[in-house]
Structure formats: C-alpha cells, structure tokens
C-alpha cells in the first residue's frame, strides 16, 4: 500500500479534506470519504456517466480520475445543486418533464446538463442529445431528459430576463 496523501477540495461550497491512497478514484473519494452518495458508479469502463461531477466548471467522469488529481479543485456534485432551499431549474425540469425513472443515472445527467447549460445556455435538441451522449440511461429513452433540459434552459433564460428588467 502506497503512502497516503491528503486531498483538499472545495465541494459544494465547503472545504473538505481526507487522507487517501494515491490510487483512490475520485468517485470513491466523493462517496466513501466525503459521504456524498448521490454520485453513482454504473460501470467500470467510463461509458455510463453515472459518476459525472462538475470539476472546476467542467463535467468529468469521477471514475476516470484519481482523487489526488482533484487536489485543490472546486467540485460540484448533485447534492450542491440546491441553493438556499431552491431547486436548480434542471432539478425542476427533470421532475416536471418526467426525465427520470429509476433515478440511478439522474445525478450524472444533472451534472452533465448543468455543465452543458453553462457552456451553451440555449442548446438545440441535437446539442442536448450530444451533450448527454456520455451518460447512459436505461429507463427513459432520453426523450423526456431532452425536454427537462429545454425546460431548464427556458427557466434560466426567464430568470436572466427578469434580472435585466429589474
């Protein structure tokens, strides 16, 4: 066993640290050391995207990184989407448009589409489909996930407009 290393991250706005083996995958760090079990593991080949988190503004598959590589970074997981008790428009969109069934892919989908909407606030259907092409869902057939993202994009645009009007 290699010597443990301390990994410090700011996760969902909070400074956290833990001492881990250098080979510890980021997803295990998040789940087992930080206790944030919303981030899931669905495969062992980086295909399914259930483990997607946002690292320094970009969506990454946390099963494909070591925790030590995230040292000093800012992490957003599904648990951090809610702000002041208010759901993120994506969370609202997934519920309103029935964008989930078993819920296992949902956290990864939310984080991928969160990053997508940061990059591209008005994605077309095709852009949404490509944006979630690294996230597998076995239940929904994706159609309502696309609608959920469109719902969120609309809500976020409305909020922007309201903000400007004020």
């Amino acid at each position: 066993m290699a010597k443990k290393r301390t990994v410090q991250v700011k996760v969902n706005g909070r400074e956290r640290e833990a001492s881990v083996e250098p080979r510890t995958l980021l997803v295990h760090f998040i789940r087992d050391y930080l206790g944030l079990t919303g981030t899931h593991v669905g495969c062992d080949t980086s295909n399914c995207g259930a483990c997607t988190v946002v690292l320094d503004g970009k969506n990454v598959k946390s099963c494909t990184m070591f925790a030590v590589q995230a040292d000093g970074s800012e992490l957003l997981t599904v648990e951090g989407l809610i702000k002041d008790g208010q759901w993120h428009p994506l969370q609202e969109g997934f519920k309103q448009e029935h964008g989930l069934q078993c819920g296992f892919c949902t956290p990864g989908m939310l984080m991928s589409t969160y990053a997508l909407l940061q990059r591209n606030p008005k994605p077309t259907e095709e852009e949404i489909r490509w944006g979630i092409s690294g996230n597998l869902c076995r239940c929904t057939g994706y159609q309502n996930i696309v609608k959920a993202v469109q719902y969120a994009a609309g809500e976020m645009a409305n909020k922007m407009t309201e903000g400007v009007a004020k």
Partner: protein
C-alpha cells in the same frame, strides 16, 4: 368507465408528477451501494478465466497474508455447510463457488473479504487457482452431438439436453401443412443479451450474532420470495431474516434471481459477525448474472391462397448456458413462449422447445418481458411479414385479414391461452393514420426507382402479463398472487404497503393514485412503502408487468374493504342506515339529502375517536389478490427506416407506437415506460449481443463492446393509445412496462427487411449492425 376525480385528489388518469422524484434529483436516493453500516467490510469475487476447466487447486496463502484480509471462502468451504450448490429458480442447481470444475468464463471461484474494497480486489488477484482446460461447448446446435463434451457431470443424465417441452396439436398442425397451398418459413435468432440495468447487482448482508437476525439489503425485484429462499436454502429461521430492497436502479429481470455473490456475502457475515457488502462491477454483471433470450427459433405458417392463415408450427432450441437459471413459473419450461400465435386467428398450432447446456453464463431470465414473450412476439411478427411478402400482400392488409376479431374475446388460442380483450385492428388503424402509411408507401416506391433504400416495418403484438393466476403460476412453488395493505390514519392520511417492488416504475405515485381513486384521499396524502419484508405484506415482486395487474388490483380491493367499513361508520355518524348512503369520491351522503354527508377524513377520525358500538377500531385492510387470468395488453408499432448504401447504417426516421393497456393510472408514467421500452427494443434490434468466441470467451462483457444506445442513437418516439379495458381486472388495467420492449424488435427488423425486400432479402438476424447490412448489400450487388 372510471369516475374522474379532481386534480387535487389525483385519482386514475391524472398525469401527476412523481412523488419519488424529489429524493432522486437531490442525490438522496438510497441504493444498496449507498448503505453504510458500522464495521462494514467488503467482498470481492475471484472468477474463472476459462469457460470449461477442471479446478486442480486453489492456493489462498498469499492472499490471506495481505494486511486487511479477513476471510477467503472457497467452494470446498461452502461444501462443508452444504452450500457449494444452490437451487436455481427452475429445477436445476447452480454452483455458488466452483467445486471440481468451472463451466463458464467469469464463474465464481472464491470470495475474498477485506476491510476495504481496494484490499479485497488486491487479495483476489493473489488467489492462485490452477486449472486444467477442458473441451468447450459454445454452439447450442452441437450440444447433443455424440462427440460433445458432457458439461454437467453432477447430473444423473449424462447429456447436455435439459428439457423437451411441447404444446398444441401436432397431428392437426402437420395435416394443415400437408394440405396448405401456401407456406412460409423463417429461422430467427433472438440473440443472447443482457438487461444491464444501470445499477449492478449487490447486497449488504448484516448478521447480528447477538439477536441472530440477518438483515440483507438486496438489489431485489422480489424481496419476499428471496427471504423465503434464503430461509429454505440457508436454514435460517424465516422470522430472523429481513430483506430490505431499498431504491433499485433498474431491474428489467436482472434482479429476479439469487446470485452466488449474495450467498457468499451472507455466509461471510454469518461467519464474521459484521456487515459484508458485495457490489458487482459492470463487467461482472454482464458476464455472470442472468442473461436473456438465446432462442434459436423456426416458425412455419400454413395459409390458403387468399392469405388466410391456418396453422403455425414452431421449433426452438434454447441455450441456457451452464445452469438452467431461468426465472419463470414452474409449469412453463419455456415461459409464456406459447403465446407465439400472437394477434392472429390460427385454427391449429404446435410449439416445441428443447433446452440445452453450453459453457456460457447461466440464465435465461425475462428481460423486460413476461417470460419469453419477447421471443414469441418477435417470431410471429417476423413470420407474418415473411408470409405477407411471399403472397406479395401489403403487411398491414395481411395482418388485418388475419387478426382475431374484437367480437371473439375472450378468445382461446390453439396453444391454450385465453385472451381477455383486444381490438387489434383499432390499434393498427390508429398507428397507420399517425404515421401516414399510404404516403410512406408511395414515397418508398419513388425512392426505390432512384435506388434509395427505405423501409416500413409493422408489429401488431399481443402481450400476456400480470401472472398469477395462482392455479397456473408459481415461482419455486410460491403462488403468484400479490398484496396490498392500507392503513388510514386518524387525520385521514394513509400509508400503504405492497408485496411488489418498484425499480423505477413509479409505484409510489401510481399506487397512491389507485387509493385516491377508490377512497378519495388525495394521492399526495398517501405514502407507499415497498421492499421491507418485515413490514410489507407477502408478495412475489415486480417483473412480468405484474404490479398493476396484481398489487394494483389488491390495492383497489383493500380500499373497497375500507370503504365498506367507512360506510358503517358514516351511517353511525349520520344516524341513518347504510342502505340510505351513497358514495361519491371522498364522501358518503344521505340519498336525497346531499348536504348530510361525511368525508372519508371525518370517517377516519371517527374510526379512532367515535367508534360505533360493536365495531373494531381503526381503518385498515389487507388484500391478497389472485387474478382470475393474465391480462393481454397489445399494440401496433410502425417503424420507418432509411439505409445508407455506403455504410450499411440504418437510420430510424420515425417510430409510431400505439399501445393499449386498458385503463391508465398515470398517462405520463405510461408514456415514459413506452419511451424506455422502445429504446431497449432499439438496442436489441441493432446493438446488444452477448457473444462468445470458440473458446467460450465472452465478447460482450463490458460496456465497451456490449452496446447501449445513447441519446444520439435514440430516435424521437411518437406515442398514441387506444383503450380496451381488461374485463376481469378491478379497474380495467392491464400493465404496460414491457409492451414496448416486447413489440418493438419486430418492427425494427421488419422495417430493415422491408427496405431490402426487393433485393430478395427475407430475414436478417439481430443485432442488425451496419456491417451486417453492408455485407447483404455487397452480396446483392448494391455496393461493389
């Protein structure tokens, strides 16, 4: 007719948003891998690299010396407790950990337990296993050859043949074929594939040595049945076993069987007295747990010159892998495959199935289908198209000519099923209209002139779901009824528990809507709990689209018992006789004096505070529902494809799905299920295959090569519905979750074959990859 409730009550037919969503979208779901108990340790499986080999020795010394390793369990260890083998759900047994030899690649050989999952995996690498390779049997068609290696030397019968099963009138069917002027044959493989729910299988086994109670957190679609099997096989008193099936990340049949990893985790926890977690990897999931299908089928249809079908003859070879671990009712070795006469009115039929062993992973389970119905629906819908092409008839017209007519229900099929209700032409007409069938056929004609490849495929499938009835259906001897228990609290809110278990189907919402419909208690005031065998009434679980037909029915029946008692209380409160009372959603009122009424909430309060003399306190009921028959949902699907001549790539341009599942509880949830099932059907038709090379090496063992469609490959689904209620279900529902997976593969394949039919193509086996299509195009001289 179902009375319409207000949106506030949210009874049947309302597309209310799902109650379960809140926790999932906040990352607060509780899946088995999220369970963390004090002192918990981790298991890891050592697996065989060979498909068939003698096990010469297992050396665990090095592994044991690794710091953090707590135990290593081998087949020899389990044999001492008589647990090296366990019964499958279908009259066979399966090795928990190998003794003597291994029979498929990735078979379980040893179970390592360590303080953390990384150490457990390290130690598994250090377990030294010596194998002596044996000849491998991969091709099921060679299983009964005289020179085939006998795989199961544990069995008395020295043969790889497992069973022969037949149903129908062979003589009459053969006679029809002798006399028939028109015949068509199709050889079709429903290929080996895997349900691959996004959450893999796993458990946390927690044996408390002080209380002697075993709690197992389990990815289980059937927690009660699993508890009983743990008791029967493991010898643990059933009252001391609690199976908890928390949130389940998709099942699709994969989580019906009991797997060796579960047994090993339980044994390890019994031995060590600490909680043991075992979660399989995706590769382990694909390589070793319940595969589906692997049916090698031939269908022949005899018809008259006008295209009226007379007889159907089906012969099938079923590859079950190393152990017959099929999860299906015990009277049906080939499940409900004999529903293969489909939506058509045959006079005579005969169906036979032979099962064999090969050196492959054991199964086969019902992958999003009611026990082999997908195979059956695919076969008949393919065969009907082949015959229509033979007669040069339009496939829609041909179907119309041969449908069982609406006035013939209940309809007894020549293979023994009684369909409850149906209107196949109605669904097909709607689908044809939605898709614009005539215009598409014209377009196809134009395109053919220009050398472009476009196809239209139809599937008019019939499903058979909702097992029981108990007189016909059981799993491992346990009858297939299901249950619901409703407790109404003093303030008029309720908690209900069922014997089923949602894996994403939305039970927490739909069952609450049934209660809302029946009692007028708003769905938002009703909590649904499933999956805890200590609290929920006994049931057989969720698969085969059985939740609504069984536990859904039980919910309505229990609610009606509560309504009966509520009426007694209302009469007491209103000082009238029960005969003077009438029910309107949510309240009883005095006939002719509607202002004199008591709401269900007032009655519930009285049930605890102002009980009429002679009546028991409380307002609760339980029902164990044994359905009188299966239900038979159906639908008409139409797929339009364009084929790229250069690459062989098939593009699904449109897909129209008209489903009829009787009365609908929540149309939003039904539509979601249809989308999901169609996507799995697409995957089966074009992508998913668990293949093996000649040495028995699995070729579809990771998500790198077992392909699951992403949002990019998945087309936009167009859905529609007709409504033909089940006459025997308490609220006329039929079940729907599996219809799209059952009905769609044939529509996809029929569309591709239709696009190539003018080239003389009659059939292409699934999965239809671009390479396969390109080869056909090359063979036919379309590409050079």
């Amino acid at each position: 007719m179902i009375a319409k409730t207000s949106p506030e009550v949210g009874g049947m037919g309302h597309p209310i948003k799902r109650k379960e969503d809140s926790r999932f979208i906040q990352g607060k779901g509780n899946y088995v891998d999220d369970v963390r108990l004090p002192g918990m340790v981790y298991g890891h499986m050592v697996r065989s690299p060979y498909a068939h080999a003698r096990l010469k020795s297992i050396n665990t010394e090095k592994a044991k010396q690794l710091p953090g390793v707590l135990a290593i369990i081998t087949g020899e260890d389990l044999a001492k407790a008589n647990l090296a083998w366990m019964p499958t759900l279908f009259f066979d047994k399966q090795m928990v950990l190998a003794t003597g030899k291994v029979l498929f690649q990735a078979q379980e050989v040893a179970f390592v337990v360590a303080e953390d999952q990384y150490t457990a995996a390290d130690a598994a690498e250090l377990v030294e296993v010596e194998y002596e390779e044996l000849p491998v049997l991969v091709d099921p068609h060679k299983a009964t050859d005289p020179d085939a290696p006998i795989l199961r030397d544990d069995r008395e019968e020295k043969s790889n043949h497992i069973f022969h099963w037949e149903v129908g009138d062979r003589a009459a069917t053969d006679r029809d074929f002798q006399n028939a002027p028109v015949k068509a044959t199709v050889h079709a493989i429903s290929q080996r594939c895997h349900p691959a729910p996004l959450e893999t299988c796993g458990c946390v086994a927690d044996f408390n040595k002080a209380t002697e109670k075993l709690t197992v957190y389990l990815t289980s679609q059937a927690p009660h049945a699993h508890r009983t099997l743990f008791a029967l096989v493991g010898g643990i008193p059933e009252q001391n076993i609690r199976v908890l099936s928390p949130d389940i990340g998709g099942g699709f049949g994969n989580k019906v069987p009991i797997y060796p990893g579960y047994v090993c985790a339980v044994v390890a926890s019994l031995t060590l007295g600490v909680p043991v977690k075992w979660i399989e990897t995706r590769s382990e999931n694909l390589q070793s747990t319940g595969f589906a299908r692997d049916y090698h089928m031939t269908a022949e249809i005899a018809a008259d010159k006008n295209g009226k079908v007379k007889a159907l003859r089906v012969k099938t070879l079923a590859d079950h892998g190393a152990f017959n671990a099929a999860a299906q009712p015990t009277k049906f070795p080939a499940g409900l495959f004999s529903v293969c006469t489909g939506s058509y009115d045959f006079e005579n039929s005969f169906c036979e199935v032979d099962g064999v062993y090969t050196n492959k992973a054991p199964g086969g389970i019902a992958y999003r289908c009611s026990f082999r119905i997908t195979e059956a629906a695919y076969l008949i819908e393919r065969a009907i198209d082949v015959l229509a092409a033979e007669l040069k008839m339009d496939p829609a017209e041909f179907r119309r000519k041969n449908f069982i007519q609406p006035d013939k229900f209940p309809y007894k099929t020549p293979l023994g099923w009684t369909y409850d209700s149906g209107n196949y032409e109605g669904a097909l007409d709607k689908a044809l209209e939605m898709v614009g069938y005539r215009e598409l056929r014209k377009e196809q004609e134009e395109k053919r002139k220009k050398g472009e490849l476009m196809g239209i495929g139809i599937s008019s499938f019939t499903e058979a779901v909702g097992a029981g009835p108990a007189h016909t259906f059981d799993i491992a001897g346990i009858k297939m009824f299901d249950s619901a228990e409703i407790r109404v609290h003093p303030t008029g809110k309720a908690i209900c528990r069922m014997g089923t278990k949602s894996q994403g189907q939305g039970h927490e919402t739909t069952y609450a809507q049934i209660v809302a419909q029946e009692l007028g208690i708003p769905a938002s005031d009703v909590i649904i709990e499933e999956g805890d065998t200590d609290t929920a009434p006994y049931g057989l679980g969720t698969y085969a689209s059985r939740s609504t037909p069984t536990s859904g029915a039980a919910t309505a029946m229990a609610a009606r018992k509560i309504r009966d008692k509520a009426k007694e209380i209302a009469a007491h409160l209103l000082e009238c006789s029960e005969a003077d009372l009438e029910w309107e959603t949510g309240k009883f009122f005095v006939k002719g004096a509607p202002s004199k009424s008591k709401t269900i909430q007032e009655i519930a309060f009285a049930a605890y505070t102002n009980i009429p003399e002679g009546l028991e306190a409380g307002l609760e009921a339980v029902n164990y529902y044994d359905p009188p028959n299966l239900t038979f949902p159906f639908g008409a699907y139409i797929c339009v494809v364009d084929i790229d001549k250069g690459t062989g790539e098939v593009k699904v341009r449109r897909f129209v799905a008209v489903d009829d599942c009787g009365n609908v509880i929540n149309p939003m949830i039904v539509e979601g299920q249809i989308h999901g099932g169609l996507t799995e059907g697409l995957a089966i038709a074009f992508m998913q295959l668990i293949d093996y090379d000649e040495n028995g090496n699995v070729q579809g063992g990771t998500l790198m090569d077992y392909l699951i469609p992403t949002a990019v490959e998945t087309p936009h689904w167009e859905t529609g519905s007709t409504c033909t209620p089940s006459p025997h279900h308490p609220f006329g529902a039929k079940g729907v979750g599996e219809s799209p997976n059952v009905g769609s593969p044939a529509a996809f394949v029929n569309a591709v074959v239709d696009a190539l039919s003018h080239l003389g193509v009659k059939h292409i086996d699934m999965p239809i990859t671009p390479w396969k299509v390109w080869k056909v195009l090359k063979e036919k001289g379309v590409v050079s």
